[in-house]
Subunit: 366 residues, 2 copies
DNA sequence: CTGAAAGCGCTTACAG
DNA sequence: CTGAAAGCGCTTACAG
């Protein structure tokens, strides 16, 4: 006997119960593996579920048991004009998000991915709406003020990325200090460069501040000439890096022997700007990045940088959120180790046998 | 007077109503802009909402009005062993997903991103669970059989990507036919290559079948020697492409003058394999891709390929789903135009003034 | 314009 | 083990 197809087909647990000849409570128990339903009860229910292709409504479920099994991830998108060679998809956020998603899946959680524009002013209402649809939030770098975080933290647990923990929220970040220390030491000690500059990221970024601080300390410790601040202010974008170089060159400034960029994107812009002026990297000016984005190994020369475990960063962020959701516990502050990746843009030698693609050995120029 | 902080803090619309001295209906109306609440009613409600940092629960809302304002996106992740230089983040899925998300946001929808492993067998239950949490589904290439789609389509509207529409689902895809036609004609006519092969993608992929078919037709029409099938079976991965070349070379086979790869990833693997054997691209063998992934312009030589409007593909997919959700209407089948991107791997000349990064002009080798 | 009340589709004590 | 019933936090006719 064909089923009387309901027009707007919302099949409910009542339909299943009716067809199986049991109560809705039994259907629910079978579906969720609660209690110990009798074998034949289970059979009847499963058959009805199969025949009807029944799928329980997530909203009803969430409302009933207070768990949506969804977390939200919020990040900034676009904003800076795209620079040639700079593609949004090389942004490391994607890798972090992938890490979050994979880990979430292990726990049966799904992930609401939501981006907000770089210049959007009042993002709190938007993030609040997401909070209402989820059990917890992971916020990428510089999404919300401490006040905004505190306000939302009353609604759902929050983990921030590359920030710092607050009274109300947890944080995961990478060990900028060790990474920058290794990088600067490589330049001023291994390569013995005596003049060196730090081309910054956004001034308000905690990552940037941490990197700048260690840069100064290590350069000073090695007694190298170093430059930071005023003319060297970038914004994490390739265009920002390129602009700084262009301005300095236009002003007739002599460049230092090595330029430490706040991130890979900036380094990309710097290398491009140097290339346009015919300045050779690394022969005349060495350039380094930070992040190890996928394209870093494909640059000319391949970029020396610091690799952050981005996928793990995402996974850890989810773990922290999950333990907070399920157990109201969780470490508030986690710092992940990083790794110096020596390629060629720092001036290191080349392995002519290998094409681009290796971690620490790659061929420079031709 | 300090609020008596509820331990597990779930603030509800009742709390707001109480504080504002109105009914929950009024709170709801103010919050949703329904009806015409009096100015002072609105005031009182908004103040209470602000003071309490109230955020309505998405699950309750969804259950009540039958709209979750969430759509699901499902795609395959990982699987193929990563090849050097091949990074997951260059997969074009990310770009498509970005397109979906941006468009969804315009409508106030959020996006549940969910990946399943490449080799996961029984994905239907997992996708069904996602269907239960959303108002509609966008399925990337080859996620579900027609039967699986039909089953889920009773629950939520479905848009597939790069497939074909079914009685129950809609589809968006790019115009493989025109793209491949332009590409092959460029090789056999503009470059006058007389021998040419198609290194395929996964045999079960609709995109692959469409591309293969046009390849054959155009090569035959130009009276060129062409090879397809048996030894030329790839799987869309760089490793797959490299393996085909290695096997052919090991078997002493003479390669054709040009190799048309099913996608950019495959071309990446092919170029790498050729490089290892000292075979020059494009001087000895020309290689082309399909997709125009971000890294394509950074290869050596820059890859000639066909650009698909991936971001727009995603946006259109959402639009189709949205009109189906909100109006029960929607075109079931959309085909988007593509563009031939001529760089250097096909044998085209170079513009020495520009470094990598331009669309159709870039410098080959050194 | 506003409030009391029903209902959205589940889960889960509570009896039996 | 199983069923009747309450309740999760909203929205929305329906009266007033």
């Amino acid at each position: 006997m064909p089923e009387p197809k309901r027009p707007k087909g919302t099949l409910t647990i009542y339909d299943v119960a009716g067809r199986a000849g049991v109560s809705i409570a039994s259907v629910s128990r079978v579906l969720n593996g609660q209690g110990s339903p009798r074998a034949d009860t289970r059979e009847k229910v499963m058959r009805a579920v199969r025949e009807l292709s029944f799928v329980p409504d997530g909203a009803a479920r969430a409302l009933s048991n207070g768990l949506k099994e969804v977390i939200g991830v919020v990040f900034r998108r676009g904003g800076e004009a795209l620079f040639e060679g700079e593609d949004e998809s090389l942004l490391f956020m994607d890798v972090i998000n992938r890490g979050i998603e994979v880990e979430a899946q292990r726990r049966g959680f799904d992930v609401l991915m939501s981006s907000v524009g770089f210049d959007d002013e009042d993002v709190l209402p938007r993030i609040a709406a997401i909070a209402g649809k989820t059990d917890g939030l992971i916020l990428h770098d510089r999404m919300l003020s401490a006040v905004g975080i505190a306000r939302l933290a009353d609604i759902v647990p929050i983990v921030t990325l590359a920030g710092s923990p607050t009274r109300a929220s947890m944080n995961v970040r990478c060990d900028n200090e060790s990474g920058m220390r290794a990088l600067v030491q490589h330049l001023v000690i291994d390569h013995a460069y005596r003049s060196i500059a730090y081309l910054s990221g956004r001034a308000d970024s905690p990552d940037n501040r941490a990197r700048a601080k260690v840069f100064e300390a290590e350069a000073a410790a090695a007694d190298a000439d170093f430059q930071v601040g005023a003319p060297w202010l970038g914004n994490y974008s390739a265009a920002g890096g390129a602009n700084v170089i262009a301005s300095l060159l236009d002003a007739g400034t002599k460049l230092p022997r090595a330029i430490v960029c706040a991130n890979d994107q900036t380094a990309l812009g710097v290398m491009h700007a140097l290339g346009r002026r015919g300045i050779k990297v690394p022969e005349e000016v060495a350039v380094t990045g930070f992040d190890d984005v996928p394209v870093a190994r494909h640059l000319h020369p391949p970029l020396t940088t610091v690799r952050q475990p981005m996928q793990e960063l995402g996974a850890r962020a989810f773990d922290m959120l999950y333990s907070r959701i399920s157990a109201a516990a969780g470490t508030p502050d986690v710092v992940l180790p990083v790794q110096l990746i020596v390629r060629e843009s720092c001036g290191c030698a080349t392995n002519p046998a290998s094409r681009a693609g290796n971690a620490s050995i790659a061929r420079s120029g031709t």
